[in-house]
């Protein structure tokens, strides 16, 4: 009964989405305010029914209802309850339902927090998002029904969740990532609504900006968690693989980075308008492309749950409709009169343009490397794979190129600035950073490493730019006391995110350069030295878990006479699927991780073991978290709330309510 209620709720949600896609849009065209004002109600209805469907599926999982195909394929009665719940999105059908749930959550948020916006704008935005919901609900109902039953042959027990996904990281990684992915539909909907309204101006950018920052912040956190999960769960200590599925989430992030910065220019200066709209369209299109790549089964990956050509075709058509339709609209409605250029080559606008260029080109590079194998395969030109060296060779120089400008950006002035002033502001800090870049690499093992020197130089440069900006805003040494009120959430968020970026770069370069790794055979009593630490295998044992049996190895780690840690890596065999899993053991700290993973038993009492010493690897995720939280912090800025009362008159005029 419960799955049927869920299925029914999903169908009702589809009807609400259809209504939302059509009625307010019609109202906007005809100037019918009753139809317009229906939008928030329809969005709420959509959320309620999608939530009911989601809850019914969750209940089916928690109650081990193996007559539901998805539950039987992805859960098991022995699975701990929390993983039964997260198994809901550990599969194609359920993750799609989560996608739609989050989409309707964003829609409800838009209708709650948009009291200051003219109702015609809200109606258009919600209606565009309703169209997206129609597409995904149709996809769910027609090709991937999560409530399909296995009748009359109900399995006695489920197939189990892939052990790789039985991990706390996987409980929060997909929802966070989806928050970001799907959240990019909000700036997209704002862009389309603005194009429909016919007026693109600063107020549009101001509405769209906090949503974009939040979505981009969640996307950053989601990607960061995914990388962390891969690091400790896949058992070989890598943190980024340039896997097509990683790229699928990374491309919207790169485009989103350009969008976040471009929106700043459009909000503050009213320029780059058409470009910003285009970026908003591309960022969401890349989210959809990512969904297509991951869900259509064209990729070999832990994320590719199923390969069903029908599903791939559906998303491909949907993708073509969304991208084609929005670009067509853009071509017809984008501002035909080029905005007058009222800034000079040396100005903050130009610096942000450099950011936009670099991040757009980076997106294209990653897109090229990701799609190349698919295109070659589609035309039967051979089965290629594009390896990490390609991405590193192009992506790393591009990031190095943008960093020198990152320090200047926050200090620069809009419209017109001078290189002499930049020099004046940054000469002393720059000199300090150069000294650091020459000295710091010597601290790492004594040998001068040019890559680490470069990383310290660039990251230090970015960091010192942020600090100098902070210094200047506070008015240190001005004699009037510190001006704390200048530290707005906008500024703090930006500063945090930039420092996070610098931390990611430091972590990535140091761990790549100084990583030590050894695969070897070890028996009880064997000792190995790595990175100045002594690893001793002291015992082997066997332990039963709730739904698996584990071989454990106990390692005592010491440095000199000082005990550092006892690490117990495991090799698990899961009962239901018989699948083997490596559970690595990690001793982590800010400056280094010690990482041990078990390979396989080779002969009596001897195990293949992988030992790793990974300096500063945590800076990657720490930096990623700073980027995400920085972006979320910017929303607290007062100017996004003040707009509602002060500017509503101007806004009503700007959106072309009359026309």
């Amino acid at each position: 009964m419960i799955p049927e209620i869920g299925h029914l709720a999903l169908i009702i949600a589809f009807v609400f989405a259809m209504g939302l896609a059509v009625i307010p849009m019609w109202g906007a065209v005809r100037g019918n305010s009753a139809a317009l004002n229906l939008a928030p109600t329809l969005a709420m209805g959509l959320l309620v029914f999608v939530a009911i469907a989601f809850a019914m599926l969750a209940v089916s999982f928690l109650k081990d209802d193996f007559s539901v195909a998805v539950v039987a394929a992805n859960s098991n009665s022995l699975l701990p309850a929390i993983f039964k719940f997260s198994a809901l999105w550990g599969n194609h059908e359920g993750s799609l339902l989560l996608w739609v749930l989050i989409l309707s959550g964003w829609m409800a948020a838009v209708s709650w927090f948009s009291h200051g916006l003219p109702s015609v704008m809200v109606a258009r935005v919600l209606s565009v998002m309703g169209m997206i919901a129609v597409g995904f609900l149709a996809f769910s109902l027609l090709t991937s029904n999560p409530f399909e039953r296995l009748l009359p042959n109900i399995p006695l027990d489920g197939n189990d969740l892939n052990p790789l996904l039985q991990d706390p990281g996987l409980i929060i990684h997909p929802p966070l990532l989806y928050m970001g992915y799907v959240g990019l539909s909000v700036p997209f909907a704002f862009a389309i609504a603005a194009l429909l309204g016919g007026r693109l101006d600063a107020s549009w950018a101001r509405w769209s900006r906090p949503w974009t920052n939040v979505a981009w912040g969640f996307l950053s956190l989601g990607i960061m968690l995914g990388s962390w999960w891969a690091y400790y769960e896949l058992g070989w200590g890598g943190w980024w693989f340039w896997d097509p599925v990683e790229n699928a989430s990374f491309m919207p992030w790169l485009m989103g980075t350009a969008l976040v910065h471009s929106l700043a220019v459009t909000e503050k200066r009213g320029v780059f308008r058409a470009w910003t709209v285009l970026l908003a369209i591309f960022a969401f299109s890349l989210s959809l492309l990512g969904t297509f790549l991951v869900r259509s089964g064209v990729l070999t990956s832990v994320h590719a749950f199923a390969s069903d050509p029908e599903r791939g075709l559906f998303i491909l058509i949907f993708l073509a409709l969304v991208i084609g339709g929005s670009l067509l609209l853009y071509a017809v409605r984008a501002p035909t009169v080029a905005s007058r250029i009222n800034y000079t080559a040396v100005s903050r606008e130009s610096l942000l343009m450099v950011n936009n260029l670099v991040f757009t080109v980076s997106t294209i590079i990653v897109l090229l490397g990701t799609l190349f194998p698919l295109v070659m395969d589609a035309f039967s030109l051979g089965k290629y794979s594009v390896g990490p060296p390609y991405f590193n060779a192009v992506f790393v120089p591009l990031m190095a190129l943008v960093m020198p400008f990152m320090a200047i950006g926050p200090l620069s002035r809009w419209r017109e600035d001078s290189a002499a002033r930049w020099l004046h502001e940054l000469l002393v800090p720059g000199a300090v950073v150069v000294v650091f870049a020459l000295a710091v690499p010597l601290l790492f093992g004594g040998r001068f490493n040019v890559w680490i020197a470069l990383a310290v130089l660039l990251s230090g440069w970015v960091a010192i730019g942020v600090l100098k900006d902070l210094w200047r805003r506070l008015g240190v040494g001005s004699g009037y006391g510190l001006r704390w009120q200048t530290l707005t959430p906008s500024f703090l968020g930006m500063a945090t995110a930039h420092l996070g970026f610098a931390a990611v770069v430091m972590g990535a370069v140091v761990v790549t350069q100084l990583n030590e790794e050894r695969d070897l055979l070890m028996e009880v009593g064997d000792v190995e030295f790595l990175g100045g630490y002594r690893f001793e295998l002291t015992a082997l044992s066997r332990q039963a878990g709730p739904n698996y049996m584990a071989d454990q190895a106990v390692f005592e780690i010491t440095q000199g006479d000082k005990p550092i840690a006892t690490l117990i890596p495991e090799k698990r065999r899961y009962f239901a699927s018989g699948q083997m899993m490596t559970e690595a053991a990690i001793d982590g700290s800010v400056w280094r991780d010690l990482y041990i993973a078990l390979g396989e038993p080779v002969e009596e009492g001897a195990w293949a073991v992988r030992l790793q010493f990974k300096p500063m690897v945590r800076w990657l995720w720490l930096g990623g978290a700073l980027i995400g939280f920085g972006a979320l912090l910017t929303v607290a800025d007062r100017r996004y709330r003040r707009q509602s009362t002060v500017k509503s008159a101007a806004i009503a005029e700007a959106t072309g309510l009359a026309g």
Partner: protein, 150 residues
């Protein structure tokens, strides 16, 4: 020149220079870093190059896995049921590597036609087959599956 026009000229040239450098760099990097997939039959027939990295995939032949006693060297054969190729790998194999399972290995062929693998990829879960391997196996029936004739 009119300042606005000069500005636009600078802008356009900046865009052109940056994107063509990047695309050039990308094309160059792509040339050296794409790896073509070969099924075992083509490798055995000598169609695969020996001086560059390739990918090779198939089913691990039953009983072919040989581990060295004191090091982490492993030699095994993969087959597409038309021909088999030997692969040598030093290091820890993935969890789901086993006899009779589909794998993809990346590496270079030596003169004896043995693939010296730098990476071995197995599937991520029990019901999944790497698409390259599935395509390579298509239409070939495993000999072991043929009806036994006394």
């Amino acid at each position: 020149m009119h300042p606005a026009r000069k500005q636009r000229l600078i802008l356009v040239s900046l865009v052109v220079v940056l994107s063509s450098t990047a695309i050039g760099l990308a094309a160059y990097a792509l040339r050296d870093n794409i790896n073509l997939f070969y099924p075992p039959a083509e490798v055995a027939a000598g169609k695969a190059p020996i001086d560059r990295t390739i990918r090779l995939g198939g089913m691990v032949v039953e009983g072919s896995i040989e581990r060295s006693r004191d090091e982490l060297d492993t030699t095994f054969w993969v087959t597409d049921y038309k021909a088999s190729v030997a692969i040598r790998y030093s290091g820890i194999l993935p969890d789901l590597f086993a006899e009779g399972e589909g794998i993809v290995a990346e590496g270079r062929l030596d003169e004896q036609g043995v693939l010296i693998a730098t990476q071995v990829l197995a599937k991520h879960d029990e019901n999944y087959m790497p698409p390259e391997v599935a395509a390579a196996l298509e239409g070939n029936t495993p000999r072991s599956a043929a009806p036994y004739q006394p």
